[in-house]
Symmetry: C2
Subunit: 218 residues, 2 copies
Amino acid sequence: MSDEQVAAPTNRRRISQRGIATRERILEAANRLMFVRGVNATTLDDVREASQTSKSQLYHHFADKQELVRALVKYRGALVLQRERGGLERLRSFSGLVRWRNALVQANSLNNGKYGCGLGSMAVELSDQDEQARSMLLETFAAWEKLISDGLHRMRDSGALRQDADPEKLATGLMAALQGGYLLANAAHNVAPMEVALDMALEHIKSFLSQPSGEPTR
Amino acid sequence: MSDEQVAAPTNRRRISQRGIATRERILEAANRLMFVRGVNATTLDDVREASQTSKSQLYHHFADKQELVRALVKYRGALVLQRERGGLERLRSFSGLVRWRNALVQANSLNNGKYGCGLGSMAVELSDQDEQARSMLLETFAAWEKLISDGLHRMRDSGALRQDADPEKLATGLMAALQGGYLLANAAHNVAPMEVALDMALEHIKSFLSQPSGEPTR
DNA sequence: CATAACGAGGACTAAATAGTCCAGGAAAAG
DNA sequence: CTTTTCCTGGACTATTTAGTCCTCGTTATG
């Protein structure tokens, strides 16, 4: 994950605007298709068709399917982190966490719980099959968790959270609840289990608030 | 999931002991291989070789790969539920829950967190690809959660858990933490995130105990 | 112990999908 | 405006993997 650019061109070739756009189109199409069908169930021909490009373009921009998939891992990682930065970078209160939760639930409910987390499902599909993809995903999860734990640190520093709260562990727990929630919601085609899971994690964090409020999370 | 038998023979053919054993061997091999490599990355030839059978045997016992996979979903579901019944059927106390947690962590740490949950990873791989598999997995998750919630109900009835505890929600939250824990542990090749996730869920349940032990929950 | 029914084995075919190559056209440079 | 360089498109090949079929061996039973 050395590159912050969402769709970085492959190295040392003079690259035109047009070429960049094509590469981007391919990644964008791969992202959509592999999100709904899964990585392994998506063929390069599907990607070619959806991206309105040709086979030679695919292989021009990506050496093989594996490299496309790895580029997609990077691409999605950047997208998710960008989105999550928006929701978490200014996190300073419990209610901010609730808003963050609501946004995730809302987005997932548009699919009726289907498809799960773009990162989580790749992690399951690829971890046992592509070591490099796995390690990129691991880094992305770590960065995501850090956005959360940084927010919790701010809350602890400001006194909102008690001193004995462990932001790293709380963030890991919250991330696990989120991923498990996505997984169960996907199996159920229903967002409800994800809500329950996130609410559990939020309750747990709430139990570390300095001035516990009476109301349950929702 | 109408059949309790782990490896039921296909219907209306006189079946010999040997045939049953072969079918079982195939399922057992598919189970092992698909656990470590994933369903889609495992070929029928891999299964044939590992099970010491022939192509014709595969197609004798299973119409096609999809049917084999579906049989595997059933097979694994039965195995997991059988195992989980052992750990949960007599659950009556919080310490029983802790023992259950320890057994899962212990088992997963033997793989250094790799491979994840046999059910959860199938759910991710198959949910968007085989409706029937998805619904069988959904049923299995429901049965698994029910083993947990039944235990929590017993705890509530005996007074160990407060009346305002919701066993169903607690069970869903625990299952999500477990699945998310498996997923993160698999990505990390390290069981630690799974421990953190399960501990969070157990803390949450603990907060509903009638006589909170040692540590203040909030 | 003969014979019929069934199981085992593996060569073969079909289909899907990954990956190559080349001709032609657009864009940049002089 | 010509030439050169790079991009585009799609036909083509190779490879992998699913799925079929036929022969031989084994087991059960009268």
